[in-house]
């Protein structure tokens, strides 16, 4: 590769090198102001135009998959929080569902509903952060504050449910760590109202804003076929006109009981991605409202002794419960030998967990299908032929999340 040879010529210290043909090789990252994330992009520029580029990742690789092989099934849950740290509940839920499928167990209805509600809250925080940060990088500071304040309210809500703002560690294999707090319905409704107000304010400021529109419209374009070939999923794919959403195509939990739309847009550019995200937030709000209305009463965990901790009264009065408590605390659940792939719809697209079990209490292999990995692999393609300034808009709408990308 011509570009790589040129980069190798740069002794590592000089940021810029001008080639004889007038082109400039420029290094962007890994710690760059306009990139909320640590990737490094080597750019070959002709004036302001990107001729060629190479994206280097791995600056946040922290050995998630290897570490998971050394802990038991429930101890993996806190690690999943930190995959896509903008939408932690979805990772929790996806992992728990995969292990439950592997063990062949069901969860009570109330648990499924709570998982849906928390997943949608996470999806909203994900999209709010994406749009807010993107808007800030393009100069719209006010919007950032509006959206982050709305996100703050959602964080407070998840804090009240799970005891953590960003890293909730909420699901367990076969259920949840705890039930919803009292008065959650009212709190959630108040937060949703505030969110809707902030969102509509931001929309008024952004959607028809000349600067914002011009910087997003027709930048970062990719054709539908290429997007499929790059294995795009989520809002990026839906902005290319493909209505693929795991929630509709292979419904999990209780998503088939709600009435919601999958927004798509045919324009394949950054503005389309922005519109899809805004619409998805509204759909998520509607799902949360429907779920809160339907929310049944009952237990929140599978009550079999091999899966979740028995109630304390039984532990002190019943030898079987005591043994189950002991074994679960020291070893955790033990799925049978086998393997499973389970996809859920994450903030950025299809989030899949592929788990191989050898019948012991530790997973043999945990593989995450990170939605932003294929997206980031297309970054070079998306910025090619555009201006340097467009990289910021494209990268922002790509919504790269380091924890998930590099694990």
């Amino acid at each position: 590769m011509d570009l790589l040879e040129r980069i190798q010529k740069i002794a590592g210290n000089n940021m810029v090198e001008t080639a004889p043909d007038g082109r400039v090789v420029l290094n962007m990252g890994p710690s760059h102001p306009a990139m909320h994330g640590i990737v490094r992009i080597y750019l070959e520029l002709d004036g302001e135009k990107v001729v060629n580029s190479d994206v280097e990742i791995g600056y946040l690789h922290r050995g998630f998959e290897k570490t998971c092989e050394t802990v038991n099934y429930n101890q993996v849950v806190p690690y999943t929080d930190r995959l896509n740290y903008v939408s932690p509940f979805i990772n929790n839920v996806g992992y728990a569902l995969a292990v439950e499928k592997l063990m062949g167990i069901d969860t009570p209805e109330r648990c499924s509903y709570i998982r849906v509600i928390m997943s949608e809250i996470s999806r909203i925080t994900d999209h709010l952060t994406c749009i807010g940060a993107n808007a800030m990088e393009l100069g719209a500071f006010t919007v950032y504050f509006y959206l982050i304040n709305a996100r703050e309210e959602l964080y407070k809500l998840s804090d009240s449910v799970a005891g953590g703002r960003i890293t909730p560690n909420y699901t367990r294999v076969g259920g949840l760590a705890k039930d919803l707090p009292e008065g959650f319905e009212q709190d959630a409704e108040a937060v949703l109202l505030k969110l809707e107000k902030n969102l509509s304010d931001s929309e008024k400021l952004l959607s028809r804003n000349r600067i914002f529109y011009d910087r997003l419209k027709d930048t970062g374009k990719i054709t539908r076929e290429e997007a499929i070939s790059y294995s795009f999923t989520g809002p990026m794919l839906r902005a290319c006109g493909v209505d693929y959403d795991v929630r509709k195509d292979s419904p999990y939990l209780v998503y088939d009981r709600f009435n919601f739309e999958i927004p798509i847009c045919e324009d394949c550019d950054n503005y389309a991605r922005y519109l899809v995200r805004i619409e998805e937030i509204k759909q998520s709000v509607s799902i949360i409202r429907q779920a809160l209305k339907q929310l049944p009463k009952g237990p929140i965990s599978n009550e079999s002794y091999g899966v979740s901790l028995p109630p304390k009264e039984q532990v002190y009065s019943n030898i079987e419960a005591l043994m189950a408590h002991f074994k679960l605390t020291f070893e955790g659940p033990k799925p049978p030998r086998g393997e499973v792939y389970f996809p859920v719809e994450g903030g950025n697209g299809e989030l899949g967990f592929y788990i191989v079990s050898d019948g012991t209490h530790r997973p043999w292999r945990v593989r995450v299908r990170p939605p932003c990995f294929p997206l980031t692999s297309a970054l070079s393609r998306l910025i090619k032929g555009g201006y340097v300034a467009d990289i910021i808009a494209t990268f922002g709408q790509l919504n790269m999340i380091g924890g998930e990308l590099e694990r």
Partner: protein
């Protein structure tokens, strides 16, 4: 439907995993042909995921190949999913690259090369992606110790 086509045309074996999902197994020589058939004839347009599993020390697999490549495909037209598994021997850790068929295979294969040291024949730009060039070994292999660090700059205590 897809099972019949694959069974008729190729040497593919379909096994049930522990929890009822179908996993198709094939020889690594047939991989490119099967993948081409999946993409063009059976409309599996998405290469959803591509990864590898190291079975060294897995109980009951002592005589079987050490690595298994795992490919997940998805057909949006029929909403079907499909998983293909391809055993790879430790003595010849190489397999055909899927980059001619899917662009997504580019980075996925680089990651597997980085983490497991499997070479992809036909991949034009096979270098490390998550670790750095100076790194020795392949961290996700079962014989790589969890805490074997290879600092790039000296650490002080």
């Amino acid at each position: 439907m897809k099972e019949e086509v694959l069974k008729k045309r190729f040497n593919v074996e379909i096994r049930k995993s522990g929890c009822g999902q179908d996993f198709a197994y094939c020889r690594k020589e047939d991989l490119l042909e099967i993948a081409g058939c999946l993409k063009n004839d059976l409309k599996f347009a998405f290469l959803i995921d591509l990864t590898c599993v190291d079975y060294k020390g897995y109980p009951g697999r002592e005589t079987m190949p050490r690595f298994e490549m795992v490919y997940h495909f998805y057909a949006h037209d029929t909403r079907e999913r499909m998983t293909l598994k391809v055993p790879v021997e430790e003595t010849s850790p190489n397999i055909d690259s899927l980059t001619p068929l899917w662009r997504a295979a580019d980075w996925y294969e680089r990651e597997v090369y980085d983490m497991y040291g499997i070479h992809f024949t036909g991949h034009k730009d096979l270098r490390r992606i998550l670790m750095y060039e100076e790194f020795k070994g392949h961290p996700l292999r079962k014989d790589y110790p969890l805490k074997a660090r290879q600092p790039r700059i000296p650490h002080e205590d």
